[in-house]
């Protein structure tokens, strides 16, 4: 189940601001369910933002990033209409992706 990412990229004064909202439980592995069984860890370990295939931000995450994670970052060199893509990989090997055009 590849996850979708909501991505927005807005150009302002030569700087493109990328905002990404990912749908992911970000389970730490430390929580227990109602019956006292441990809920297995499941969290995003790596996020990459690219602008026309150029990496503009790479992130390594632990389980203490919030559920349904939000990430904003900024880069120079973008133009209106360019593609911005955000990808994630989690500790179970699942992936998520989202693409938008700079506005």
């Amino acid at each position: 189940m590849a996850g979708r990412i909501r991505v927005r990229a807005q150009l302002s004064d030569g700087v493109t601001e990328v905002k990404a909202l990912m749908r992911h439980p970000m389970e730490t592995g430390l929580r227990k369910d109602a019956d006292g069984n441990a809920i297995p860890a499941n969290f995003i370990t790596e996020v990459t933002a690219t602008h026309n295939d150029r990496v503009v931000m790479q992130a390594f995450w632990g389980a203490s990033v919030s559920q349904n994670p939000f990430l904003a970052c900024r880069f120079t060199g973008g133009a209106v209409g360019d593609d911005v893509t955000v990808n994630w990989v989690d500790n179970l090997g699942e992936t998520g992706t989202g693409t938008t055009k700079i506005r």
Partner: protein, 156 residues
């Protein structure tokens, strides 16, 4: 006799501390990360001292790092954090939460051409300091700020 016990207690604590530091350093060989691999050992480090040591134990405090976190967070499950480094040549930014079981929350690799500006949300288990560690020009710098949490972020 009392004196002997005191000194042995001290040295045992010192040994434990040295052991923890050693374990943290060994978990991240040489502290040299290729830009593309996740430092798994640093993410598993327990306690803020070990977590800081796994990245940079000698990070100088800098007022050139803007670290924005709420003074009081009602929900520790989603605490917004903004890091904006004004240090020239910033290449990496790490966010740590002092009293979380594994303090290291995130590391960002900032390529050339990107601003050293990051906004995200983290879980904060209880009232404590949030740290931003910034690597600029091969040196590590830090800033920290306390966030009071009224509802913990690791509830089960």
């Amino acid at each position: 006799m009392v004196g002997y016990e005191e000194s042995s207690g001290l040295s045992r604590r010192g040994l434990l501390r040295a052991g923890a530091l050693l374990a943290a350093v060994m978990a991240v060989p040489g502290r040299v990360w290729a830009a593309v691999t996740r430092p798994d050992g640093a993410f598993k480090a327990e306690g803020i001292d070990a977590a800081l040591a796994s990245i940079a134990s000698d990070a100088a405090v800098s007022d050139q790092i803007d670290l924005e976190t709420p003074d009081i967070a009602e929900n520790g499950g989603t605490v917004p954090v903004v890091v904006n480094s004004k240090l020239p040549g910033t290449t990496r930014v790490a966010i740590l939460v002092e009293l979380n079981p594994n303090p290291l929350s995130a590391i960002f690799v900032v390529p050339e051409g990107s601003d050293a500006y990051i906004e995200t949300r983290v879980k904060v288990a209880q009232t404590c300091n949030i740290y931003a560690l910034v690597e600029a020009g091969g040196q590590w710098y830090q800033a920290s700020k306390e966030t009071k949490v009224t509802l913990g972020g690791c509830g089960g």
